[in-house]
Symmetry: C2
Subunit: 327 residues, 2 copies
């Protein structure tokens, strides 16, 4: 946690200016067949099409672009299960900075290979026995590098919030009045950033987090009114959504701006990945499909409503994806 | 063939006005990893994300929106291997028109099921023994319905040309100077429409067709200077690209505007589908991947160049897609 002020709508507008021309303005997609089935209007913010295959490039670039030129040579260190890894590696390379990424040894092979291809040095660790924050902090100290956390950082949250800003801007341009927006949640950087942007631009819209069952720390923490941990034994197919607790910065933002949270089962996530494949022609990874899973499994009543779900990433190994869409 | 004048850039601008708010302005996607591998800049026009999963909705809606209201009740008849089918069915339903679609019995199951779900009545035929044009013409005559051919129609070509217009407009907005655009080709409606739009907006850009090997009637016809047929025994994984010969309207347009054509093997198409999955998070069907296949298999030298490929559709059955991305 830093001493910087909490991010606000102005910080997100500033991030959008920094990201212009660097990120893809991902489309809001719809399917008349799915809308007819649900009795409402469902739009997918296809952030899996973002550079590096997830929204994480936004926060990483927004943070690293603010590193003064004379401090860039020392580089950046990050710990990540894979999407923040790729976002930081690609953003650092674009800005001429070296990067070291601490990744769990059981991360999807594609995420590890791509992080290296984007230009990073990789350090692997055991997700269930070692502390990634400690490893990252030690390397950062040794090298004098910036340690960029995956969600609990004001510039990262502001960058992720540009997803919400784009949703609000496109909805306004298309004359859509949004009843709800559902956003997948691990540490809460994306959902809290989106909520800041949307609460300013579209105050009537209700924002929800979507998490795996058993790893729904944000949902339970919002109910309890304080931060709760997940059971360390909990497992999910959603490798991108395994953070143990809401962030120290993201949680108060979520308390202020979110209407609540949803928890989805692995089977509901698999069904959502099939729908994304068949009806939207999108490759969505398990964690990226949590919000869509919440919408199509009936966690929220879509009858007569207009709801946006963020498909936050698409970095999934071919064998896993093939197995899921065939069943 | 109609007696109407050939479509021009003005007809495409008029189509774009008609389609505004009905179609998705599909994104131009890129991958820094692929660009580094190819030594150039490759952009994918992700038309698989279009409503109904292919560009075909554009031409269908542009044509049907011009049917006078008092003639809409008689409906529309179309013959199609699946993408035109879905485009016509969805456009007709939007405009309150009944539709009958003549489809080959061996079309992908998803294409048949979705065409029915979009509201059409389906008539199946044997692709290798029966004449779909004759079946369609007979039904249209019986019902007094409009027969809308899949490519050889000025309003269909103008509608498909809005893909090229969007490419030109986005390239201009992003300051990209396009060296080449490659477009998949069956009867030639999409490639000729795109070529009209691009030749007006970006005269330096070279336009190429991409077809399956053995079904590369457009490429061979351009070399010969007159329309040639494919060997009826030729087969390809690209079920959307099996038209036997260039269209009577599309061919003279292709002669005027195209720089040439490429032929791609089924293996090159499969490799392109894997690249679209892994690097662009797109579900692209075999025929939709022909242009990408031409680019990444080296049919055109991308060194230092900026090239757009159109990914024209994403309607592929899960079992086929799963088998291709796993290998």
């Amino acid at each position: 946690m830093t001493g910087a002020p909490l991010p606000d709508a102005n910080a997100i507008r500033a991030a959008a200016t920094r990201l212009a021309g660097k990120t893809i303005a991902t489309p809001l997609l719809s399917s008349s067949l799915i809308d007819a089935r649900l009795g409402g209007r469902l739009l997918i913010k296809a952030e899996c099409l973002q550079r590096t295959g997830s929204f994480k490039f936004r926060g990483a670039y927004n943070a690293l672009a603010q590193v003064p030129p004379d401090r860039r040579a020392a580089g950046v260190v990050a710990y990540s299960s894979g999407n923040h890894a790729q976002g930081v590696a690609a953003a650092a390379t674009l800005l001429g900075m070296p990067s070291v990424i601490v990744m769990p040894a059981d991360a999807p092979a594609m995420k590890i290979a791509n992080t290296r291809a984007y230009g990073a040095e990789i350090v692997l660790y055991d997700r269930y026995a070692e502390n990634r924050e400690a490893i990252g902090a030690r390397i950062a100290q040794e090298r004098g590098a910036l340690l960029l956390p995956p969600y609990d950082h004001v510039d990262v949250i502001a960058g992720q919030g540009t997803v919400g800003l784009e949703i609000a801007d496109e909805a306004a341009a298309r004359g859509l009045d949004l009843d709800a927006v559902i956003v997948s949640c691990s540490g809460g950087g994306l959902v809290s950033g989106c909520a800041i942007a949307l609460s300013a631009a579209s105050p009537r819209t209700q924002i929800y987090s979507a998490e795996p069952e058993g790893l729904d720390d944000m949902r339970r923490s919002l109910v309890a009114g304080h931060r709760l941990d997940n059971d360390p034994a909990a497992r999910s197919i959603c490798d991108a959504l395994l953070a143990p607790t809401p962030g120290a910065i993201t949680f108060p933002l979520a308390q202020r701006y979110l209407a609540g949270g949803f928890a989805v089962s692995d089977d509901e996530v698999r069904a959502a990945m099939r729908v994304a494949f068949e009806n939207y022609k999108l490759v969505v990874e398990p964690g990226g499909a949590a919000a869509l899973a919440a919408a199509i499994s009936g966690k929220i009543d879509l009858g007569g409503k207009t709801v946006v779900v963020v498909a936050s990433g698409g970095n999934v190994d071919a064998a896993l994806f093939a197995g899921i869409i065939r069943t």
